[in-house]
């Protein structure tokens, strides 16, 4: 992890920093008010009033949240560094307030061997601004056939395994994968999609019917989600269902996670919470994504499931693509959206401002809950927790433009949209890794 280290005065406790005057929101502890936070040795040392430190950052009028955690990102490394790298992906994450990210394994080569995992782990240490965790593949080549060497992958530094991008088509193969992952002590992130149903490129709804683009029914996700959840409960494996995009799938998650023996969590994405398949009527390849944007009923259903905790958290499925793969008809375009930099502003604007979701639940869904999933130790703004923080200006409005994005690609579905809320600072392990305000650190006696 690199990133600009704040210039600090020479002192016995040089990395002692007080962020003062911010409205601190830490859903895990119920903390919600103007406070000072003192950081020391990479951790939160103290939360309270009138704290003193060797350095001081005036955050008056800003909000301070635990750093956001994204368990689903494609940094396209190795293989498509023209679309994203660890340097640019982690910079985009930091610019979005994310302090921890899980990198998906559908790269070229696929992250399915210990040597690729250890190579990535080494590169992350050197190149990433934020904490980055390597997800290895559940099956070799993501082909849904042969298991990967999960125990050796774990020793090489893999954090979890996933079949993301394709899903596992055979229930029997998936079951073995879950059993083996359980033995290896690795959580499994599941992409639920039945290829016998997912034959189209957009949601099979009114918009698809009107524009004549081949649709995939919601059942393509729901059937695979049901299968995965049945197997998760039966095997007792630690399963995370990613990018839940339909009301039915969300309800299935709610049903199965309540069963005894279930170790199930699930996320949905900012775009499924804020956008609908109405956008495909523009016939722009940009709006192709998998799972596809769904009708308003699904958007609302998924939003309710997130508000009620059935869906545990938000993950962006940050999926950069070269312009040449997006400036195409829907049927030829690559599926996927950028996610890191717009996640919080889009959700704050569409859900919190409209009163559908509390700010506290949003921060829990972007930080506390996924933070608990990736880290076993305390996560949040409380004494002893890692100093991973996001400083946000909730009052600032901005328009999403390609030239403002830090990511190496620019396939954001929010281009041209006016969003409220801007990340102004991101701190990882006590270091400022994104500075959107020209932060001044004042030495204090």
């Amino acid at each position: 992890m690199t990133g600009a280290r704040p210039s600090a005065p020479v002192s016995a406790v040089a990395d002692d920093l007080v962020i003062s005057g911010a409205h601190v929101l830490n859903p895990a502890s119920g903390l919600d008010g103007v406070m000072d936070v003192r950081l020391s040795a990479g951790r939160v040392a103290e939360v309270g009033k009138d704290l003193r430190g060797t350095r001081h950052l005036d955050a008056d009028g800003l909000h301070l949240f635990p750093g956001f955690v994204d368990v689903h990102a494609h940094w396209r490394t190795p293989g498509r560094e023209d679309e994203e790298t660890i340097v640019t992906g982690s910079a985009a994450a930091a610019a979005g307030g994310f302090t921890s990210v899980v990198m998906m394994p559908n790269t070229d080569p696929v992250v399915d061997s210990p040597v690729v995992v250890s190579g990535l782990v080494r590169r992350v240490e050197k190149e990433s601004r934020v904490r980055a965790y390597v997800s290895a593949a559940l099956h070799q080549g993501l082909k849904g056939e042969r298991l990967t060497e999960m125990r050796l992958l774990k020793e090489a530094g893999a954090f979890c395994v996933s079949d993301d991008g394709l899903g596992t088509q055979s229930a029997g193969v998936l079951r073995n994968g879950m059993l083996y992952a359980k033995s290896a002590g690795l959580p499994v992130i599941l992409h639920c999609e039945d290829h016998t149903l997912a034959t189209g490129v957009v949601h099979d709804g009114i918009a698809a019917a009107l524009v004549g683009v081949p649709g995939s029914p919601g059942s393509a996700e729901d059937v695979a989600t049901a299968t995965a959840l049945v197997l998760a409960v039966e095997t007792g494996a630690k399963i995370h269902v990613t990018h839940v995009s339909s009301s039915v799938s969300a309800a299935l998650v709610g049903f199965f996670k309540a069963l005894p023996g279930a170790d199930v969590t699930a996320d949905t994405t900012p775009h499924h919470l804020t956008l609908t398949d109405d956008l495909i009527r523009q016939l722009e390849g940009l709006y192709r994504v998998n799972p596809p944007l769904r009708p308003e009923e699904d958007r609302l259903g998924v939003g309710d499931a997130l508000a009620g905790g059935i869906l545990d958290f938000v993950a962006t499925d940050h999926a950069p693509h070269a312009a040449s793969k997006k400036e195409l008809p829907l049927e030829e375009a690559a599926p996927g959206f950028l996610g890191h930099e717009t996640a919080f502003p889009a959700l704050y604007t569409e859900l919190v401002q409209s009163g559908k979701l509390s700010l506290s639940r949003l921060v829990e869904a972007m930080a506390s809950a996924p933070g608990r999933w990736v880290r076993v130790d305390a996560y949040g703004i409380s004494q002893g927790a890692p100093a991973d923080l996001a400083l946000v200006d909730l009052s600032e409005e901005w328009t999403v433009r390609a030239d403002l994005l830090v990511s190496r690609s620019s396939n954001s579905p929010y281009l041209g949209r006016r969003l409220k809320g801007r990340i102004v600072g991101t701190v990882v392990g006590g270091e400022m890794v994104y500075d959107g305000m020209g932060a001044k650190f004042e030495a204090r006696a």
Binding site: Q140, E145, R146, L147, T148, E149, M150, R151, L152, S170, G172, V173, N176, L179, Y180, K182, S183, A184, E234, T235
Partner: protein, 312 residues
């Protein structure tokens, strides 16, 4: 004398085990010892092997012949089974021809028990599907008893059963037999090679052979991993490299006092390292060598040729 079937070791008692091992010892020594009528002279033993076998078939045949029995062997190939004769009809035919004991090897669990229901002759299970392989576990105990200084020395010792428990008839006989002998057991396998109900036997499940040694294993009992478990379209184990790393018995595991066992046939370099198979810490040759005496004893007990002398 009534025929006595040897179908399963599920529920076997310590005394039953002791009896078989005592009789086997007498056979091995070629003495009448405390038993008389050990000879199978004039008895007919039929070996009905519905599945390929080398060591078990040969060892049963030797066991029967050395004890003086007439031996008939039928296998699937070249018999009426090939024409579609059912298991029951085959058994009834052998029975009607006057077999005293039918030794059966079959690819389906429960085949021996089904045969026993339709035969007057004693039925000895020589391995049925993933069910039971009683004589394997008995010869294992014979070899192990000898190595540790007697049957009573087994009590309290710890054995880790390593590998493909799910598909192993050997494990399903070894577990109750070793437990009845007073041993403590643990299983070492990934969840893909264990039954869904991993707690079926109430045994601890350990993640590697190294963990088994930490647990205090005196015996590392490696099970055969069939190649198709690794090479099929959807294998249960990712690779030989990963399997051997966690579940392979290596020379470094066999510290003084730790014994390696394997029912054969061995995949050298997979479940057990090649240099371990014939090492001093390996009981594998002793296991094979115990087969004849133990199976002679089982056949003798099965047909009622063993009478314990009244004098003690």
């Amino acid at each position: 004398m009534q025929a006595r079937d040897f179908l399963t070791l599920e529920g076997v008692s310590r005394e039953e085990l002791r009896e078989v091992l005592e009789v086997a010892k007498v056979h091995a020594a070629g003495l009448a010892g405390g038993y008389d009528g050990l000879s199978l002279h004039g008895r007919t033993v039929c070996l009905a092997f519905f599945e390929a076998s080398t060591r078990t078939a040969v060892s049963f045949e030797l066991a029967a012949r050395r004890a003086g029995a007439d031996v008939i062997s039928i296998s699937e190939k070249g018999s009426a089974i090939e024409k579609g004769e059912s298991l029951i009809d085959t058994v009834v035919t052998l029975d009607a021809l006057g077999a005293d004991a039918i030794v059966i090897r079959h690819p389906s669990a429960g085949a021996a028990q089904l045969a026993a229901c339709h035969a007057e002759a004693a039925v000895v299970n020589a391995g049925d599907g993933c069910g039971q392989h009683p004589t394997q576990a008995l010869l294992d105990l014979y070899a192990l008893s000898k190595a540790v200084g007697g049957f009573d020395e087994l009590a309290g010792r710890r054995a880790a059963i390593v590998g493909d428990v799910l598909h192993s008839r050997v494990a399903r006989s070894v577990i109750p037999a070793f437990q009845a002998a007073g041993m403590e057991l643990a299983l070492v396998a990934p969840d893909t090679l264990l039954p869904s109900e991993t707690g079926a036997w109430g045994l601890p499940i350990l993640p590697s052979v190294d963990d088994a040694l930490d647990w205090g294993a005196d015996v590392l009992y490696a099970l055969r991993l069939q190649n198709e478990r690794m090479t099929s379209r959807s294998p249960l184990v990712p690779s030989v490299a990963e399997y051997t790393r966690y579940y392979g018995v290596e020379r470094r595991h066999l510290k003084p006092g730790v014994l390696g066992m394997h029912p054969g046939p061995v995949n050298r370099g997979v479940e057990i390292a090649g240099d371990v198979v014939l090492s001093d810490s390996s009981l594998i040759p002793a296991q094979v060598a115990s087969g004849v005496a133990v199976r002679s004893a089982v056949l003798a007990l099965a047909v009622g040729a063993v009478r314990k002398e009244a004098t003690a």
